[in-house]
């Protein structure tokens, strides 16, 4: 059956409110789990950088960028995205681990920031983000 605007099934306000309340609870629980796991992800990234383990950096950075963005930590997600690009495409670059170390230190700082309502990136954060963007661009790692 093709369902469209004209014959779309309706949902009562009470039902909608009930399932949205359940959804809010799920998101709260998952956000709490993400925040509990965040220090372990950062520790794993640091360990991988110390061991020059690019594959683990790539995997953990990918997990971090997806989850951080999903829970409103968009600056942290963007930083993790840079690290993921670096690990994915920068294996042949001699400065890859130096840059990865800088980025991981930056991510640790970003992880401490509360990016909830009203948050605005500081000038320092913006300037580090721009610097990272230019570094990766200069290495030819960005689209």
């Amino acid at each position: 059956m093709i369902v469209n605007k004209e014959n779309a099934p309706t949902m009562s306000e009470a039902t909608r409110a009930r399932i949205l309340a359940k959804g809010d609870q799920v998101m709260e629980e998952m956000a709490a789990e993400f925040h509990r796991e965040l220090p372990a992800i950062l520790t794993q990234l640091q360990g991988a950088a110390d061991n020059k383990d690019l594959e683990t950096i790539k995997r953990s950075a990918y997990q971090l960028k997806s989850s951080a963005s999903g829970f409103g930590k968009s600056t942290l997600g963007q930083g993790a995205s840079f690290l993921h690009v670096l690990a994915e495409r920068g294996a042949s670059k001699p400065e890859v681990f130096l840059l990865a170390g800088h980025l991981i230190n930056f991510l640790k700082e970003l992880a401490l920031i509360d990016e909830s309502a009203g948050y605005e990136e500081s000038e320092e954060t913006v300037s580090i983000m721009k610097a990272m963007y230019h570094e990766l661009s200069a290495l030819g790692l960005l689209d």
Partner: protein, 175 residues
């Protein structure tokens, strides 16, 4: 009929944690059958044999499989789901990406961070406010033609990164 009237959903996301977030959210919406795939090959194999009411996928895929799934879906290479609505969750909403997703045959896009309300609304919009499907030599998927040049104002057209309202305007240009 289930609570949302959406019975069968496939979630395709290579990130285990965020896939679990969406899975749990759909269970809280009382969707009766939610199937998960973490890899392109698994998602493709499932789609070849099972039909779904909705596919939810993430833009940020590991391994370069991003929009291949939806392109192959719309081209009929993945079995019975050629018309199945596809809802894309996306964190980095550069304008070029939004157009790319729309032109690949994505039905709706929900910007991260996703709230339950946005997710529910986009799921229902994907399934019950479907854009007309077009099938031609060069494109198969929800109609992406523009109805009117005034629909997207100049400010929105010139934006590099888009918010949910901008994304919705792009996705519904054809209405």
């Amino acid at each position: 009929m289930s609570t949302t009237a959406i019975e069968k959903v496939l979630i395709f996301d290579t990130d285990n944690f965020y896939r679990r977030v969406i899975y749990n959210l759909l269970l809280s919406f009382e969707v009766p059958a939610v199937v998960q795939a973490a890899e392109y090959s698994k998602a493709a194999n499932i789609l070849k044999i099972k039909s779904f009411d909705l596919i939810v996928m993430d833009w940020d895929m590991d391994g370069g499989s991003r929009l291949d799934l939806v392109k192959n879906l719309r081209n009929g290479k993945l079995g019975p789901n050629i018309w199945t609505p596809v809802l894309l969750c996306s964190a980095h909403n550069r304008k070029s990406r939004i157009y790319q997703a729309r032109d690949a045959g994505i039905s709706e896009i929900v910007a991260k961070p996703v709230s339950p309300q946005q997710m529910l609304d986009k799921m229902r919009a994907s399934c019950f406010r479907m854009r007309r499907f077009v099938r031609s030599e060069n494109f198969s998927g929800p109609d992406r033609r523009r109805r009117s040049v005034a629909y997207l104002d100049e400010d929105r057209r010139s934006k590099v990164s888009m918010d949910q309202d901008d994304i919705d305007a792009v996705m519904r240009e054809s209405e």
